[in-house]
């Protein structure tokens, strides 16, 4: 009896799923449910004949999914933050031009960065900046000052209070890392990153791990993309979000997938997201993203003290170089993972010992102990790939080879394994030297 009911239910469900109306728009996106749900409700209200289906995948998984589908069976819209993903999809001929869907009221540039793809394969739909999110209760309980710049998170007082994620797990963390590397320079940038990581309690494995950890008070502060911080703040959590001077404001994008079922309806959705009502949704407290439409067009809708992306971009000291970033993409990801993510325990121990030595040697600037400390710092906070190597095209080329080729795989693995082993040794040496210096 029970089994028969099940089969009927299954049959019924199968029939209803076959009886799809022709007017379904499917959107692949990495954005959170609050945002997509708000767009679904608003869009279906103004376009009653179209059903919006959301397919939530992280950027990389979304691309892999798309590649597997034949022409005519693909979803209509691709909607994620990372511009590099769209570049790759356009190269693989998986995107159609969307030039005609532009909203003319959207400015061409944000700072020095173009809002829309010059080739016309994707359009900026919202703006995003990177900064520090912190928990006010945590800071108060641990007597920590309010951070305003990345450097503030490197102080000894912050040891064990920072939460970070790995760029390999989070496109937004990768942009944050690149922002720091491009504004400080390669070696100084890594020094900042290594010290910030040394102060970290954990490297979370989901990009949402940092905002989540800061929201619930596991971490005091951490680098996040703005809407995570702002949406938590406007949902009532005791958190704040600030943009350091070293930040980059870049567009999050939307594009039309080629070979989709309902291209015309898909275009209607893209146009909707760029229209005034579509942009206003971004300002809802639970969404809290920065619109691409200038605030002059949205008067009366923008909450008081809401960040103004154009002003932030003007203040920022970084001009984001997309080409530089994509050329060394793999190396940054792997170097971070091998020397930070997988060696965090040793890096933390070295950092702790260095802080201890600094405290003991306060005011001592010369002599063998000061030298030992300086040596320990150099060992712990110098990247294993130097400035010269990262600018060497031959070195970059190794990492862009076909990984199915055993030779290529072996060469890359050799580097990874070498970085992993050497960083472990160096962190341990640094810890020993600093401990000795503190005696």
């Amino acid at each position: 009896m029970k089994i028969r009911t099940c089969w009927y239910a299954a049959l019924l469900a199968a029939l209803t799923s076959l009886n799809l109306s022709a007017q379904t728009v499917t959107v692949i996106t990495s954005f959170p449910k609050e945002l997509t749900a708000a767009y679904k409700t608003a869009f279906e209200k103004t376009h009653p004949s179209i059903t919006l289906e959301i397919l939530n995948k992280n950027t990389v998984a979304g691309m892999a999914y798309l590649r597997e589908l034949p022409v005519g069976q693909r979803p209509e819209v691709f909607w994620v933050s990372a511009p590099d993903a769209f570049e790759i999809l356009a190269r693989e001929k998986l995107l159609d031009s969307v030039v005609d869907l532009k909203n003319p009221k959207v400015p061409e540039k944000i700072g020095a960065f173009p809002v829309n793809d010059p080739q016309g394969f994707y359009l900026g739909q919202a703006l995003a900046g990177y900064g520090i999110m912190y928990n006010t209760r945590y800071l108060k309980a641990n007597k920590l000052g309010t951070p305003t710049e990345w450097q503030d998170l490197l102080a000894p007082a912050w040891f064990g209070h920072v939460g970070i994620t790995a760029p390999s797990r989070s496109g937004t963390m990768h942009l944050t890392v690149e922002t720091i590397l491009q504004s400080d320079g390669w070696e100084t940038g890594w020094n900042t990153l290594l010290r910030m990581s040394g102060n970290s309690a954990a490297v979370t494995e989901r990009s949402f791990g940092v905002p989540d950890g800061v929201s619930n008070g596991q971490f005091g502060a951490g680098p996040v993309i703005d809407f995570f911080g702002l949406s938590a703040k406007y949902s009532g959590f005791p958190v704040e979000f600030i943009y350091p001077v070293q930040t980059a404001i870049v567009p999050a994008n939307i594009g039309l997938i080629s070979g989709a079922k309902n291209t015309a309806a898909g275009k209607q959705f893209i146009a909707f997201t760029l229209s005034q009502p579509g942009q206003e949704i971004l300002l809802q407290p639970k969404v809290s993203r920065l619109p691409v439409l200038p605030y002059a067009e949205l008067t009366g809708k923008v909450p008081a003290q809401y960040p103004d992306p154009q002003a932030l971009a003007a203040r920022s000291t970084v001009t984001f170089d997309n080409e530089k970033s994509s050329a060394r993409y793999e190396i940054v990801l792997k170097l971070f993972d091998q020397t930070i993510t997988f060696r965090l325990k040793e890096l933390q121990a070295a950092t702790k010992a260095i802080f201890e030595a600094e405290r003991k040697l306060k005011g001592v600037t010369a002599g063998p102990k000061a030298e030992m400390l300086a040596q320990a710092r150099a060992l712990a906070y110098t990247p294993l790939v130097d400035q010269k190597q990262i600018n060497d095209p031959a070195f970059l080329k190794i990492f862009s080879g076909n990984k199915k080729d055993p030779e290529v795989n072996k060469a890359i693995s050799q580097f990874e394994s070498d970085w992993n082993t050497r960083s472990k040794e160096r962190y341990e040496q640094a810890r020993e030297l600093a401990t000795k210096a503190a005696q």
Binding site: C6, A37, N56, Q73, R137, P211, P238, K410, S413, N420
Partner: protein, 561 residues
Amino acid sequence: MQRLGGPALAALGILGLLSVFLILPIATVFVSAFSDARGQITLAHFAVFFQQPLMLESFYNSLYVALSASVAAALIAVPLAYLTVRFQFRGALLIQTLGVLPLIMPPFVGAVALQLIFGRSGSVNLILNDWFGVTLPLMEGLNGVIFVEALHYFPFILMNLTVSLRNIDGAMEEAALNLGARGWRLFIRIIFPLAMPGFVAGMALVFVKVFDDLGTPLVLGATNMLAPQAYLRITQVGMDDPMGYVISVMMIVFSIFAMWLSVRVLKGRDYSTLQKGGNALQQRQLSKGESILAYGWIGLIMLLVLSPHLGVLLLSFASVWSFAPLPDGYTLAHYATVFEQSPGMLSNTLLYCGLAAGIDVLLGTSIAYLILRTKLVARHWLDWIASAALAIPGLVLAIGYLRTFRGVLVPGTDVLFTATWFLIMIAYAIRRLPYALRSCMAALQQVHHSLEEAAASMGATRLRTVRRVMIPLMAGGMLAGFVTSFITAAVELSATMMLVTKESQAPMSYGIYLYMQSTSGRGPGAALGVLAIVAVALGTYASHWLVSRHQRLTQIHRPQG
């Protein structure tokens, strides 16, 4: 030959099913691990694996965590199982049901909730720090993984062991008592060894499950383990990265080895009992002191086990919860959001998991029967193949499906096979088949051959014997299999994430994950989690009730004896 026709046909059918939905996708993985860019066979990728200290460290860590978690899970489960079966004990059914509760929560949700309770700024540590100025690093590093996994997976041991203990013939105990064995000695020498099939089956399940669990280490940030490494390689470097496949192959091989070992341990011994429904183990009354001890132990464990649920429950009602032992305020808004936005997810979960668990019990019973009761050539291959599913990461199986059925249309329509929920359901059925199979095997192992022979000599056909004698005797084990398959499928995430093609076909586990991607979505995500727990708990309770009612009814109709 005529007599073997039916079983042989059944074996072929099962083999066909497993070939299409299990062997083919795994073959894709193996081919990828052993081939280079030009499609030539190579071992080079494996050489690379063994040259990387990180990979070896991950391998060692995975082994350590899986072993420790199995032992810790056994420490929790064995006393609970023994107490509920051995003593007259109020609320034994409650403990059984409560003992299932950890399984019905996706591991990553459990880890998130445990962070809220036991984490760095969790309720417990905030209070400890306030009162005594100390904190417990329960959730740090590998220990955190072991803690969460043991709390999450001990029901595997509890369920299997309870069934085994219940099936022990009371006469064995009486004989031992007559010969002077008492107390501890009786337990160690007689009762525990007789319950070995259930215990070993449970331990092996926990080991393998922890060995390839992905969600918990990821949420806790323990990356230096095999499953996270494979996942990171495949999602980050892409489908072309051979290392991900190499790690997958290593995991597959090692998990199969562990399962083989557990079979090996039991081999050559006879655990079957002659009677069923006659005398079970004696149920004793607890003395007052024992009673306090027992309730104390159970209370402590229940508190630990229920803490993730408590965390999720609080989170689902919390308006804001941040750096405080308890939420700032309470609201029902998250439940309203869930009912407004995602009403279909509950029915999807029930549909997919119900079908998958049904298929599993059907296949599990058939395979168990073929292996234990027929002399079919190579019948053990069915067991090995089905059990291999345990070792296949969901992500890899899903990728295999997408590749294998690429471009295949549902007959008579223009709908892609890969775009239907059928594949999600089948992935659940395949991945959960080993659980059902273990339970069915353990149940059948304890039904003595002579009972069937008796039925046959009374003139019952083979089919009738199965239907009237074996299935009623195996009902407990089959139900355990159904429930295990159902609830573990309900919390499966990694394959689901790859195979869901639209939100309207998403089950609850996926919905919880989706919501949990942002701070303002934590509340609705937790609310959905609570609904999932309630739904599955009700289902489990109902099936327990159905079976005990069925057993009572059959007992009434049974002639006195």
